[in-house]
Symmetry: C2
Subunit: 222 residues, 2 copies
Protein backbone atom coordinates (compact mmCIF):
# COMPACT_ATOMS: atom_id res chain seq x y z
CA UNK A 1 0.00 0.00 0.00
CA UNK A 2 1.27 3.45 -0.90
CA UNK A 3 -0.16 6.64 0.53
CA UNK A 4 0.04 9.72 -1.69
CA UNK A 5 2.20 12.45 -0.15
CA UNK A 6 2.34 15.46 -2.47
CA UNK A 7 5.04 17.35 -0.60
CA UNK A 8 7.29 14.40 0.04
CA UNK A 9 8.06 10.75 -0.32
CA UNK A 10 5.18 8.27 -0.41
CA UNK A 11 4.60 6.38 2.83
CA UNK A 12 4.72 2.65 2.07
CA UNK A 13 4.19 -0.33 4.30
CA UNK A 14 7.87 -0.72 4.98
CA UNK A 15 8.59 2.98 5.37
CA UNK A 16 5.85 3.34 8.01
CA UNK A 17 7.12 2.58 11.51
CA UNK A 18 5.13 0.08 13.56
CA UNK A 19 5.60 2.18 16.67
CA UNK A 20 5.73 5.91 17.43
CA UNK A 21 4.20 6.76 14.06
CA UNK A 22 3.88 10.38 15.19
CA UNK A 23 7.67 10.64 15.00
CA UNK A 24 7.76 9.79 11.29
CA UNK A 25 8.20 12.42 8.58
CA UNK A 26 8.19 12.10 4.80
CA UNK A 27 8.76 15.64 3.56
CA UNK A 28 11.81 16.26 1.44
CA UNK A 29 13.10 19.21 3.44
CA UNK A 30 13.27 17.18 6.66
CA UNK A 31 14.80 14.16 4.94
CA UNK A 32 17.38 16.22 3.04
CA UNK A 33 18.41 18.16 6.14
CA UNK A 34 19.10 14.95 8.07
CA UNK A 35 21.00 13.38 5.18
CA UNK A 36 23.02 16.54 4.57
CA UNK A 37 24.19 16.77 8.14
CA UNK A 38 25.85 13.37 8.03
CA UNK A 39 28.41 11.55 5.95
CA UNK A 40 28.51 8.08 7.53
CA UNK A 41 25.58 5.75 6.95
CA UNK A 42 24.87 2.15 7.87
CA UNK A 43 24.27 0.17 4.70
CA UNK A 44 22.32 -3.06 4.98
CA UNK A 45 22.10 -5.82 2.39
CA UNK A 46 21.39 -9.53 2.31
CA UNK A 47 24.14 -12.05 1.75
CA UNK A 48 23.41 -15.79 1.67
CA UNK A 49 20.01 -15.04 3.20
CA UNK A 50 21.40 -13.18 6.21
CA UNK A 51 21.58 -9.45 6.86
CA UNK A 52 24.85 -7.52 6.77
CA UNK A 53 25.17 -3.96 8.11
CA UNK A 54 28.35 -1.98 7.41
CA UNK A 55 29.24 1.64 8.14
CA UNK A 56 30.30 3.55 5.06
CA UNK A 57 30.59 7.05 3.62
CA UNK A 58 27.83 8.48 1.45
CA UNK A 59 26.80 11.64 -0.37
CA UNK A 60 23.44 13.08 -1.36
CA UNK A 61 23.12 14.73 -4.75
CA UNK A 62 19.55 15.86 -5.37
CA UNK A 63 17.34 12.80 -5.16
CA UNK A 64 20.22 10.31 -5.32
CA UNK A 65 22.55 8.86 -2.69
CA UNK A 66 26.01 7.64 -3.64
CA UNK A 67 28.16 5.14 -1.79
CA UNK A 68 31.62 4.10 -2.89
CA UNK A 69 33.84 1.18 -2.14
CA UNK A 70 36.44 -1.19 -3.44
CA UNK A 71 35.46 -2.90 -6.68
CA UNK A 72 36.12 -6.14 -4.79
CA UNK A 73 33.74 -5.48 -1.92
CA UNK A 74 30.65 -7.63 -1.52
CA UNK A 75 27.85 -5.06 -1.80
CA UNK A 76 29.56 -3.30 -4.71
CA UNK A 77 29.88 -6.55 -6.63
CA UNK A 78 26.24 -7.36 -5.91
CA UNK A 79 25.13 -3.99 -7.21
CA UNK A 80 26.89 -4.64 -10.52
CA UNK A 81 24.84 -7.79 -11.03
CA UNK A 82 21.42 -6.35 -11.79
CA UNK A 83 21.05 -4.32 -8.61
CA UNK A 84 21.23 -4.99 -4.91
CA UNK A 85 18.37 -4.60 -2.43
CA UNK A 86 19.64 -2.29 0.30
CA UNK A 87 18.52 -0.32 3.31
CA UNK A 88 20.60 2.79 3.99
CA UNK A 89 20.19 4.41 7.39
CA UNK A 90 21.60 7.69 8.72
CA UNK A 91 21.25 8.51 12.42
CA UNK A 92 22.11 11.62 14.42
CA UNK A 93 22.04 11.30 18.18
CA UNK A 94 20.93 14.50 19.92
CA UNK A 95 20.38 13.65 23.56
CA UNK A 96 19.81 11.20 26.36
CA UNK A 97 16.29 11.45 27.73
CA UNK A 98 16.02 10.51 31.41
CA UNK A 99 12.54 10.06 32.81
CA UNK A 100 11.34 9.31 36.33
CA UNK A 101 10.53 5.78 35.15
CA UNK A 102 12.98 3.42 33.46
CA UNK A 103 10.25 2.72 30.89
CA UNK A 104 10.17 6.28 29.57
CA UNK A 105 13.92 6.60 29.14
CA UNK A 106 14.65 7.40 25.53
CA UNK A 107 16.98 9.21 23.18
CA UNK A 108 16.51 12.31 21.09
CA UNK A 109 17.59 11.61 17.55
CA UNK A 110 16.98 12.25 13.88
CA UNK A 111 17.23 9.36 11.45
CA UNK A 112 16.49 8.62 7.81
CA UNK A 113 15.86 5.14 6.42
CA UNK A 114 16.04 4.58 2.66
CA UNK A 115 14.82 1.35 1.09
CA UNK A 116 15.55 0.49 -2.51
CA UNK A 117 17.75 -1.14 -5.10
CA UNK A 118 21.29 0.10 -5.54
CA UNK A 119 22.96 0.04 -8.95
CA UNK A 120 26.56 0.45 -9.95
CA UNK A 121 27.32 3.74 -11.63
CA UNK A 122 28.95 3.06 -14.99
CA UNK A 123 28.90 6.51 -16.58
CA UNK A 124 32.38 7.94 -16.03
CA UNK A 125 31.17 11.52 -15.54
CA UNK A 126 28.54 10.54 -13.01
CA UNK A 127 31.08 8.39 -11.20
CA UNK A 128 33.62 11.22 -11.03
CA UNK A 129 30.97 13.64 -9.77
CA UNK A 130 29.84 11.11 -7.17
CA UNK A 131 33.38 10.66 -5.86
CA UNK A 132 33.72 14.44 -5.53
CA UNK A 133 30.36 14.57 -3.76
CA UNK A 134 31.43 11.92 -1.23
CA UNK A 135 34.54 13.95 -0.34
CA UNK A 136 32.52 17.16 -0.15
CA UNK A 137 29.77 15.60 1.94
CA UNK A 138 32.17 15.35 4.88
CA UNK A 139 34.24 18.46 4.12
CA UNK A 140 32.41 20.88 1.81
CA UNK A 141 34.83 22.38 -0.70
CA UNK A 142 37.52 19.78 -0.21
CA UNK A 143 37.26 17.94 -3.54
CA UNK A 144 38.54 21.03 -5.37
CA UNK A 145 41.60 21.05 -3.09
CA UNK A 146 42.89 17.50 -3.55
CA UNK A 147 44.47 15.54 -6.36
CA UNK A 148 41.76 13.95 -8.49
CA UNK A 149 41.69 10.17 -8.90
CA UNK A 150 43.93 8.78 -11.62
CA UNK A 151 43.03 5.90 -13.93
CA UNK A 152 44.48 3.27 -11.62
CA UNK A 153 42.59 4.61 -8.61
CA UNK A 154 39.35 4.86 -10.57
CA UNK A 155 39.73 1.23 -11.63
CA UNK A 156 39.81 0.23 -7.96
CA UNK A 157 36.78 2.28 -6.97
CA UNK A 158 33.17 1.37 -7.53
CA UNK A 159 30.24 3.69 -6.89
CA UNK A 160 26.66 2.68 -6.33
CA UNK A 161 23.59 4.89 -6.53
CA UNK A 162 20.36 4.61 -4.62
CA UNK A 163 17.47 6.80 -5.67
CA UNK A 164 15.41 8.49 -2.98
CA UNK A 165 12.01 6.92 -3.62
CA UNK A 166 11.05 4.99 -0.51
CA UNK A 167 12.30 7.18 2.29
CA UNK A 168 11.22 8.08 5.80
CA UNK A 169 12.61 10.20 8.59
CA UNK A 170 12.03 9.61 12.26
CA UNK A 171 12.67 12.23 14.89
CA UNK A 172 12.37 12.63 18.64
CA UNK A 173 13.09 15.86 20.48
CA UNK A 174 12.10 17.48 23.76
CA UNK A 175 11.92 16.34 27.33
CA UNK A 176 10.88 13.02 28.85
CA UNK A 177 7.35 11.63 28.87
CA UNK A 178 6.19 11.03 32.41
CA UNK A 179 3.31 9.20 34.00
CA UNK A 180 1.34 11.64 36.18
CA UNK A 181 1.80 9.41 39.23
CA UNK A 182 5.59 9.52 38.77
CA UNK A 183 6.00 13.30 38.84
CA UNK A 184 6.74 13.54 42.56
CA UNK A 185 9.37 10.80 42.55
CA UNK A 186 12.81 12.00 43.70
CA UNK A 187 14.63 11.04 40.48
CA UNK A 188 16.19 13.72 38.27
CA UNK A 189 14.45 13.97 34.92
CA UNK A 190 15.46 15.87 31.83
CA UNK A 191 17.73 15.71 28.82
CA UNK A 192 21.50 15.40 28.53
CA UNK A 193 22.47 16.86 25.13
CA UNK A 194 24.85 14.82 22.99
CA UNK A 195 27.14 17.08 20.99
CA UNK A 196 29.27 16.13 18.02
CA UNK A 197 32.00 18.62 17.20
CA UNK A 198 35.39 18.89 15.55
CA UNK A 199 38.72 19.17 17.31
CA UNK A 200 41.74 21.14 16.14
CA UNK A 201 42.99 19.83 12.80
CA UNK A 202 46.20 17.81 13.18
CA UNK A 203 48.54 18.28 10.19
CA UNK A 204 50.37 15.23 8.87
CA UNK A 205 54.09 15.24 9.52
CA UNK A 206 55.51 15.71 6.07
CA UNK A 207 59.12 16.94 6.04
CA UNK A 208 59.53 20.39 4.54
CA UNK A 209 55.80 20.98 4.29
CA UNK A 210 54.11 24.13 5.48
CA UNK A 211 50.63 24.23 3.95
CA UNK A 212 48.39 26.69 5.79
CA UNK A 213 45.11 25.43 7.21
CA UNK A 214 42.45 25.93 4.55
CA UNK A 215 39.37 28.04 5.30
CA UNK A 216 37.07 25.02 5.13
CA UNK A 217 38.75 23.35 8.15
CA UNK A 218 37.42 22.39 10.56
CA UNK A 219 34.12 21.98 8.74
CA UNK A 220 31.40 24.28 9.98
CA UNK A 221 28.81 22.59 12.19
CA UNK A 222 25.74 22.07 10.02
CA UNK B 1 35.67 -21.74 7.09
CA UNK B 2 36.48 -20.90 10.68
CA UNK B 3 39.94 -19.92 11.82
CA UNK B 4 40.81 -20.74 15.41
CA UNK B 5 41.51 -17.63 17.48
CA UNK B 6 42.36 -18.61 21.04
CA UNK B 7 42.24 -15.11 22.53
CA UNK B 8 39.10 -13.98 20.81
CA UNK B 9 36.23 -14.65 18.47
CA UNK B 10 36.74 -17.03 15.56
CA UNK B 11 37.21 -15.36 12.18
CA UNK B 12 34.61 -16.76 9.80
CA UNK B 13 34.02 -16.06 6.14
CA UNK B 14 31.45 -13.41 6.86
CA UNK B 15 33.30 -11.81 9.75
CA UNK B 16 36.43 -11.37 7.61
CA UNK B 17 36.38 -8.11 5.65
CA UNK B 18 37.06 -8.33 1.93
CA UNK B 19 39.16 -5.19 2.09
CA UNK B 20 41.59 -3.65 4.58
CA UNK B 21 41.91 -6.96 6.43
CA UNK B 22 44.74 -5.45 8.48
CA UNK B 23 42.15 -3.25 10.20
CA UNK B 24 40.18 -6.21 11.52
CA UNK B 25 40.43 -7.40 15.13
CA UNK B 26 38.86 -10.37 16.87
CA UNK B 27 40.12 -10.14 20.42
CA UNK B 28 37.56 -9.77 23.16
CA UNK B 29 39.16 -6.78 24.85
CA UNK B 30 39.03 -4.71 21.67
CA UNK B 31 35.49 -5.80 20.84
CA UNK B 32 34.21 -5.22 24.36
CA UNK B 33 35.79 -1.77 24.61
CA UNK B 34 34.10 -0.63 21.39
CA UNK B 35 30.73 -2.05 22.42
CA UNK B 36 30.98 -0.57 25.91
CA UNK B 37 31.63 2.92 24.64
CA UNK B 38 28.35 3.03 22.73
CA UNK B 39 24.68 2.58 23.40
CA UNK B 40 23.11 3.04 19.95
CA UNK B 41 23.56 0.28 17.38
CA UNK B 42 22.24 -0.29 13.88
CA UNK B 43 20.28 -3.54 13.83
CA UNK B 44 19.82 -5.25 10.48
CA UNK B 45 17.34 -8.00 9.68
CA UNK B 46 15.57 -9.36 6.60
CA UNK B 47 11.90 -8.72 5.98
CA UNK B 48 10.15 -10.10 2.89
CA UNK B 49 13.57 -10.79 1.40
CA UNK B 50 14.82 -7.21 1.76
CA UNK B 51 17.18 -5.75 4.34
CA UNK B 52 16.00 -3.39 7.08
CA UNK B 53 18.42 -1.34 9.21
CA UNK B 54 17.12 0.50 12.27
CA UNK B 55 18.95 2.45 14.98
CA UNK B 56 18.21 1.16 18.46
CA UNK B 57 19.57 1.07 22.00
CA UNK B 58 21.57 -1.91 23.20
CA UNK B 59 23.52 -3.18 26.19
CA UNK B 60 26.38 -5.64 26.56
CA UNK B 61 26.35 -8.04 29.48
CA UNK B 62 29.31 -10.40 29.34
CA UNK B 63 29.10 -12.27 26.06
CA UNK B 64 25.52 -11.24 25.33
CA UNK B 65 23.98 -8.18 23.72
CA UNK B 66 20.45 -7.10 24.57
CA UNK B 67 18.10 -4.97 22.50
CA UNK B 68 14.63 -3.98 23.58
CA UNK B 69 11.59 -2.74 21.78
CA UNK B 70 7.84 -2.72 21.61
CA UNK B 71 6.29 -6.19 21.67
CA UNK B 72 4.57 -5.12 18.43
CA UNK B 73 7.73 -4.19 16.53
CA UNK B 74 8.77 -6.24 13.52
CA UNK B 75 12.18 -7.56 14.61
CA UNK B 76 10.95 -8.34 18.10
CA UNK B 77 8.04 -10.39 16.77
CA UNK B 78 10.40 -12.19 14.41
CA UNK B 79 12.73 -13.07 17.26
CA UNK B 80 9.86 -14.69 19.16
CA UNK B 81 9.22 -17.05 16.25
CA UNK B 82 12.22 -19.35 16.49
CA UNK B 83 14.87 -16.67 16.23
CA UNK B 84 15.73 -13.89 13.82
CA UNK B 85 18.91 -13.64 11.75
CA UNK B 86 20.42 -10.26 12.55
CA UNK B 87 23.53 -8.18 12.05
CA UNK B 88 24.19 -5.69 14.83
CA UNK B 89 26.72 -2.96 14.12
CA UNK B 90 28.20 -0.32 16.45
CA UNK B 91 30.32 2.47 15.00
CA UNK B 92 32.33 5.25 16.62
CA UNK B 93 33.59 8.01 14.37
CA UNK B 94 36.94 9.41 15.48
CA UNK B 95 38.19 11.66 12.71
CA UNK B 96 38.15 12.88 9.14
CA UNK B 97 41.31 11.87 7.30
CA UNK B 98 42.31 14.29 4.54
CA UNK B 99 45.02 13.16 2.15
CA UNK B 100 46.73 14.95 -0.72
CA UNK B 101 44.73 12.73 -3.08
CA UNK B 102 40.95 12.38 -3.09
CA UNK B 103 41.50 8.61 -3.29
CA UNK B 104 43.19 8.38 0.11
CA UNK B 105 40.58 10.39 1.98
CA UNK B 106 39.20 8.26 4.76
CA UNK B 107 37.77 8.29 8.25
CA UNK B 108 39.18 7.13 11.54
CA UNK B 109 36.68 4.91 13.27
CA UNK B 110 36.14 1.89 15.48
CA UNK B 111 33.32 -0.49 14.66
CA UNK B 112 32.02 -3.87 15.73
CA UNK B 113 29.85 -6.12 13.58
CA UNK B 114 27.99 -9.02 15.20
CA UNK B 115 26.31 -11.72 13.10
CA UNK B 116 23.93 -14.20 14.62
CA UNK B 117 20.44 -15.24 15.56
CA UNK B 118 18.51 -13.15 18.06
CA UNK B 119 16.05 -14.76 20.43
CA UNK B 120 13.38 -13.25 22.62
CA UNK B 121 14.20 -13.32 26.31
CA UNK B 122 11.40 -15.06 28.17
CA UNK B 123 12.94 -15.51 31.62
CA UNK B 124 11.54 -12.65 33.74
CA UNK B 125 14.73 -12.16 35.74
CA UNK B 126 16.93 -12.06 32.66
CA UNK B 127 14.52 -9.64 31.03
CA UNK B 128 14.50 -7.32 34.04
CA UNK B 129 18.29 -7.39 34.24
CA UNK B 130 18.53 -6.68 30.51
CA UNK B 131 16.25 -3.65 30.79
CA UNK B 132 18.41 -2.31 33.62
CA UNK B 133 21.50 -2.95 31.54
CA UNK B 134 20.11 -0.99 28.59
CA UNK B 135 19.47 2.04 30.81
CA UNK B 136 22.89 1.71 32.43
CA UNK B 137 24.68 1.27 29.10
CA UNK B 138 23.91 4.92 28.25
CA UNK B 139 24.06 6.29 31.79
CA UNK B 140 25.94 4.01 34.18
CA UNK B 141 24.21 3.90 37.54
CA UNK B 142 20.91 5.29 36.31
CA UNK B 143 18.76 2.16 36.57
CA UNK B 144 19.06 2.25 40.37
CA UNK B 145 17.76 5.84 40.34
CA UNK B 146 14.54 5.42 38.35
CA UNK B 147 11.20 3.77 38.91
CA UNK B 148 11.36 0.14 37.83
CA UNK B 149 8.97 -1.08 35.11
CA UNK B 150 5.55 -2.15 36.35
CA UNK B 151 3.58 -5.13 35.03
CA UNK B 152 1.82 -3.10 32.35
CA UNK B 153 5.08 -1.63 31.07
CA UNK B 154 6.78 -5.02 31.10
CA UNK B 155 3.94 -6.44 29.02
CA UNK B 156 4.64 -3.83 26.35
CA UNK B 157 8.38 -4.41 26.26
CA UNK B 158 10.17 -7.22 24.51
CA UNK B 159 13.87 -7.96 24.86
CA UNK B 160 16.00 -9.93 22.45
CA UNK B 161 19.41 -11.41 23.08
CA UNK B 162 22.24 -11.95 20.66
CA UNK B 163 25.21 -13.99 21.81
CA UNK B 164 28.68 -12.79 20.91
CA UNK B 165 29.90 -15.69 18.78
CA UNK B 166 30.57 -14.34 15.30
CA UNK B 167 32.05 -10.94 15.96
CA UNK B 168 34.66 -8.72 14.40
CA UNK B 169 35.99 -5.26 15.08
CA UNK B 170 37.42 -2.94 12.48
CA UNK B 171 39.54 0.06 13.32
CA UNK B 172 41.38 2.82 11.54
CA UNK B 173 43.50 5.42 13.29
CA UNK B 174 46.38 7.71 12.46
CA UNK B 175 47.18 10.05 9.61
CA UNK B 176 46.49 9.81 5.90
CA UNK B 177 48.14 7.39 3.53
CA UNK B 178 49.93 9.24 0.75
CA UNK B 179 51.45 8.28 -2.56
CA UNK B 180 55.14 9.33 -2.56
CA UNK B 181 54.61 11.40 -5.69
CA UNK B 182 51.84 13.37 -3.96
CA UNK B 183 53.85 14.56 -0.97
CA UNK B 184 54.86 17.90 -2.47
CA UNK B 185 51.34 18.85 -3.58
CA UNK B 186 50.06 22.08 -1.98
CA UNK B 187 47.00 20.48 -0.35
CA UNK B 188 46.68 20.37 3.43
CA UNK B 189 46.80 16.83 4.75
CA UNK B 190 46.07 15.51 8.20
CA UNK B 191 43.27 14.55 10.52
CA UNK B 192 40.32 16.53 11.85
CA UNK B 193 39.22 14.86 15.10
CA UNK B 194 35.52 14.19 15.57
CA UNK B 195 34.52 14.58 19.20
CA UNK B 196 31.34 13.38 20.84
CA UNK B 197 30.61 14.99 24.19
CA UNK B 198 27.77 15.83 26.54
CA UNK B 199 26.23 19.26 27.06
CA UNK B 200 24.86 20.64 30.31
CA UNK B 201 21.95 18.52 31.54
CA UNK B 202 18.60 20.29 31.01
CA UNK B 203 16.13 19.51 33.81
CA UNK B 204 12.51 18.90 32.86
CA UNK B 205 10.12 21.63 33.92
CA UNK B 206 8.13 19.94 36.64
CA UNK B 207 6.30 22.37 38.95
CA UNK B 208 7.54 22.27 42.52
CA UNK B 209 10.44 19.99 41.69
CA UNK B 210 13.96 20.60 42.83
CA UNK B 211 15.90 17.38 42.41
CA UNK B 212 19.67 17.99 42.49
CA UNK B 213 21.75 16.83 39.55
CA UNK B 214 22.95 13.31 40.35
CA UNK B 215 26.64 12.53 40.41
CA UNK B 216 26.40 10.31 37.34
CA UNK B 217 25.35 13.24 35.09
CA UNK B 218 26.61 14.05 32.60
CA UNK B 219 28.03 10.58 32.02
CA UNK B 220 31.80 10.43 32.12
CA UNK B 221 33.46 10.17 28.71
CA UNK B 222 34.49 6.54 28.33
Amino acid sequence: MTTASPAGYPATDRSTPTRSKERAAYDRATVHAILDQGYVCHLGFVRDGAPVVLPTLYARSGEVLYVHGSTGSRPLRGAADGGLAVCLTVTHLDGLVLAKSAFHHSINYRSVVVHGTAYQVVDPDERAAALDAIVDQAVPGRSADARRPNAKELAQTAVIRLDLHEVSAKLRSGGPNEEPEDLALPHWSGVVPVITSYGSPEPAEIPGQDVPLPDYLPPLPR
